[in-house]
């Protein structure tokens, strides 16, 4: 009895220490991370399965749910997972393909969309892609100091800061892309582009950058961007000049495939305040025992018939745990038939849980 108590206590302390270490600049190079560096965060089998199903031999990540196209976000996720699995060769292939195929812009940012047989079909960037790739490069530079991967990570980090971070209505926010997200005096943002754990890593690599402000403003935005009786964040939000947050016209007004990543990135960033997780906990508690809806229209709160994928459920399970609502979310096991996006969410959630000291 006494031994079990001690172990529980120790586990909590360790998790708390890891979370605390995640704050300041330099944290990513702190003891917590280098200790983790010795041991892969992602099991080799899980990575091998992902690579076999979604990564082509040349290092291109294939979005099987989207007609086999590729995008900067997929490359970023692939690189993060390869680093987590300590697969240096795969990481190199993914990065080489990304650099040669997508980094065609003069400003150093990454073109977001690539189609088989056509190459880049939309040169605009998608900021979460840039952020994920930069973060993965910084992480790889840490794991393999002799690889020369840190420098392009720092360069991309600075390019994001220079071109994509805006001050608006007293907030520091990421523009979702270079083109098309300013509407008169308002700015359209994507709450799921607030990749908090990446911002922390970027703060360490670029101490003079706006990264801590992005974290603070991101939290303010998420406290404001709550809609419907569920109080869920939207896939797309519009921040008016006076700081009010509305749902932009011309974008689907819903909590859906984008915004499901909001609680994932919060948790992974060590931001565990239950307030930010209660909406998901409430949603899954309401649908306990049946399928959880994949999307919720906002601001009306109507839920879709389509059920959440395994990956989305994995995020919901994590969120419910942090919200302490007591809701029990079941994630279907052994989902080999899952598409690219669902699989990514499953694996990323596993990484986030691990960073929080949660048992898988």
């Amino acid at each position: 009895m006494r031994a079990i108590n001690r172990r529980t206590a120790l586990a909590i302390t360790a998790a708390a220490a890891a979370a605390a270490a995640g704050v300041g600049a330099g944290a990513m190079t702190g003891t917590g991370m280098s200790a983790a560096g010795r041991e892969a965060e992602l099991a080799p089998a899980a990575w091998a399965d992902f690579a076999a199903r979604f990564v082509a031999a040349d290092g291109r990540v294939v979005d099987t749910g989207n007609a086999g196209i590729s995008h900067s976000e997929g490359q970023g996720y692939g690189m993060l997972l390869a680093a987590a699995a300590r697969d240096r060769a795969a990481f190199r292939r993914l990065w080489d393909w990304t650099r040669s195929q997508l980094m065609v812009r003069p400003d150093g940012l990454v073109a977001w969309k690539w189609e088989p047989g056509k190459g880049v079909t939309d040169p605009n960037n998608a900021t979460d892609g840039d952020v994920l790739i930069a973060w993965a490069l910084l992480r790889a530079g840490e794991l393999w100091p002799d690889s020369g991967l840190r420098e392009p990570g720092v360069t991309l980090t600075r390019a994001v800061a220079r071109h994509l971070v805006v001050r608006h209505a007293g907030l520091t926010l990421p523009l979702p892309g270079m083109e098309g997200f300013r509407k008169g005096t308002a700015v359209v943002v994507n709450p799921s582009y607030l990749v908090f754990p990446a911002f922390r890593a970027m703060a360490a690599a670029d101490p003079d950058g706006p990264w801590q402000e992005l974290v603070t403003s991101g939290l303010v935005l998420l406290a404001k961007a709550r809609f419907s009786q569920w109080q869920l964040p939207p896939d797309w939000a519009q921040v008016e000049a006076d700081g009010t947050v509305t749902l932009p016209d011309g974008f689907r007004k819903q909590f859906g495939y984008d915004a499901i990543r909001v609680p994932l990135y919060l948790a992974w960033g060590g931001l565990r305040d239950p307030y930010y997780f209660r909406p998901y906990g409430a949603l899954t508690a309401r649908f306990a025992g049946g399928p959880v809806p994949a999307t919720v229209s906002l601001p009306g709160g109507t839920t879709a018939q389509v059920a959440a994928s395994s990956g989305m459920l994995a995020v919901h399970r994590l969120a419910a745990r942090l919200a302490s609502t007591g809701a029990n979310v079941t994630v279907p096991p052994g989902a080999t038939g899952e598409d690219y996006y669902s699989t990514v969410l499953l694996l990323l959630t596993r990484l986030a849980e691990r960073s929080l000291g949660f048992a898988p």
Partner: protein, 576 residues
């Protein structure tokens, strides 16, 4: 909070509303135990309270920043939780931070209404200090503040089911401590037709709020959403239930009487209305007592429509004396005409000829065009003129509809239709009618085009103002083709509407700024001056507030001004 009336258009009614809206704030200092800085607090030194039993976080925060009003409210709240509890003796002594985290920055953000920032700061603090938990009281206040804001935002946007939903998710906001939220939720129930739910909430207010002014204001609010007999039930409850010491609930019954007079006056305009003689007498007495120009106009039309021109003349005359204006002049013209005193009718119209649409219309209805002896025989007023003179607005719509069916629709008729819809308080349709008038204007005779275009544009903007789109009106004014007078008129209306909104949201500095801007354009009506006084009062500028109230009271002393003067005097005397 409901905003059913538009101050610039109906100043007397707005004044009543404002007076009704304010005293709940004004009365805040009327609690028996003053806790002003430097004043001894009643605390029991012996018998130390059991620590940890009551969450004193907020209490200590308010004590530290010296927010007396909130401190008192918090003491009352904690006493309600535990009657045996007493404020700690060391309330004003500096406290060590037991948890190692100073909550002051979060409370500061919360007090400033920056709730999202408070949430964000807490989330970041939890990363920095993993073992730390914000106090339960802080979290509760944040939840309540968020729910309050959700209710307010949804109610401002007329999303009634969302109001109900937000309140249901956090029923703790439905208490007397958050009366505005309770009112807004009750209004939402009313708008959704859930009268009994609305009644239940109003009942909570009139039976649990200790202050008479709060109960009285609740009655005014409820009257817009409940049938008269339910309002009477509320008044009965409010006048008797759970009396607090030192409060005089006569004001509750007074409010009921005022409402019933208001209803009698409102019903006078309806077709075929014949109020009971006693009701009418009471209404007439009340109008005389209050020197209520709007009430006098209503009585004037009541008699005019029954061809009792002499009595109508009397009431229109009073209205014109108390508050000279085109509407009183219009009544005078028609009443004189009814008495065949044409010269006096024209004399009454004189100051308004050419500047008032109403008065010009009235004159057209009484003037017989001089026959020139030519083929055009003298024409009397058209049926439409007569309908307008009789203020028969539905008749106006019917006649214009007949013209439209006969393919005789013109820009002028479309515009007239807009004004009749405005009289019926259907501004959305009126706006459409003015848009139609604007579209038809190019096909009018060249000489009339400009006048018709201007009139339609002016009407459309007035209609939008009535729909609370003050911001939009101000934005569109510079590009409109209106005369300087029309612009000034619209700008003043928009400023009044914005000032009222600022006042309701307790942005008192903004309210004053907007009122000042408005006063540059037009003289300030009574209701707005009263609001100016209460804004000054809320900002702690008691001497200026008192000066405003006293000036109002000297010009015309009413219950509102007398109460305002006495509240401001008390505050100054007590040094608050």
């Amino acid at each position: 909070m409901t905003r059913p009336l538009f101050p610039a258009l109906i100043p007397a009614a707005a004044a009543a509303l404002l007076a009704a809206a304010f005293p709940s704030q004004a009365a805040a200092q009327a609690t028996p135990r003053a806790l002003a800085p430097g004043v001894e607090v009643e605390v029991d030194s012996p018998g130390a309270p059991v620590p940890g039993r009551i969450d004193e976080t907020a209490l200590r925060y308010y004590a530290r920043i010296g927010d007396v009003a909130r401190l008192e409210a918090e003491i009352a709240r904690l006493k309600a939780i535990d009657p045996l509890w007493d404020p700690p003796a060391d309330l004003f002594a500096p406290q060590a931070q037991p948890s190692g985290v100073d909550e002051t920055p979060f409370w500061e953000r919360l007090s400033a209404g920056r709730i999202a920032e408070a949430r964000a700061a807490i989330a970041e603090q939890r990363v920095r200090t993993p073992g730390w938990q914000p106090s339960a009281r802080l979290l509760e206040e944040l939840d309540l503040a968020e729910a309050t804001r959700r209710v307010r935002d949804a109610s401002e946007a007329n999303r009634w089911s969302e109001v109900v939903e937000a309140a249901a998710a956090e029923p703790r906001v439905l208490t007397c401590a958050r009366l505005d939220t309770l009112w807004r939720t009750a209004e939402a129930y009313g708008r959704l037709g859930r009268t009994e739910d609305a009644f239940a909430l109003y009942r909570t207010a009139v039976t649990t709020c200790p202050r008479a002014a709060e109960r009285r204001d609740t009655l005014f609010k409820a009257s817009a959403h409940l049938p008269p007999e339910r309002v009477r039930d509320l008044a009965e409850l409010g006048a008797t239930a759970n009396p607090a010491e030192g409060e005089d609930y006569a004001a509750v019954r007074g409010a009921l009487a005022e409402l019933e007079v208001g209803r009698t006056l409102a019903r006078l305009g309806a077709r075929g209305a014949e109020p009971a003689a006693a009701d009418l007498a009471r209404a007439e007495a009340a109008v005389l007592e209050r020197r209520d120009a709007d009430g006098a106009l209503a009585l004037g039309w009541f008699h005019q429509n029954r061809r009792r021109f002499a009595q109508a003349l009397e009431w229109f005359g009073r209205a014109n004396e108390w508050e000279p204006g085109e509407r009183a002049a219009e009544g005078l013209v028609l009443a004189y005409a009814g008495l065949n005193r044409r010269a006096e009718a024209l004399e009454a119209a004189r100051p308004w000829r050419g500047t008032s649409r109403r008065v010009d219309q009235a004159v057209r209805a009484v003037e017989r065009p001089a026959g020139t002896g030519g083929p055009a025989a003298p024409r009397g007023p058209s049926p439409l003129d007569r309908a307008l003179a009789a203020r028969d607005w539905s008749g106006c719509l019917d006649l214009i509809e007949a013209e439209r069916r006969a393919n005789r629709f013109t820009a002028a008729l479309a515009q007239q239709r807009g004004w009749c819809l405005m009289e019926l308080d259907r501004p959305t349709e009126a706006e459409a009618a003015f848009a139609q008038a604007l579209a038809l204007a190019p096909s009018a005779p060249p000489a009339e085009r400009r006048r018709l275009t201007e009139g339609a544009e002016y009407g459309a903007l007035q209609a939008r103002l009535r729909q609370d789109d003050a911001t939009g009106v101000v934005r569109d004014l510079p590009t409109s083709q209106l005369s300087e007078a029309q612009r000034r008129d619209l700008r003043a209306g928009a400023l009044a509407s914005q000032a009222l909104r600022a006042y309701e949201e307790q942005r008192h500095r903004d309210a004053l700024r907007l009122l000042d801007a408005r006063r540059e354009l037009e003289a300030e009506p009574r209701g707005l001056t009263l609001m100016r006084g209460w804004s000054l009062y809320a900002l702690g500028r008691q001497n200026e507030a008192l000066a405003v109230f006293e000036a109002l009271d000297r010009r015309l002393s009413t219950a509102d001004t007398r109460e305002a003067v006495s509240v401001a005097r008390r505050a100054i005397y007590r040094g608050e």
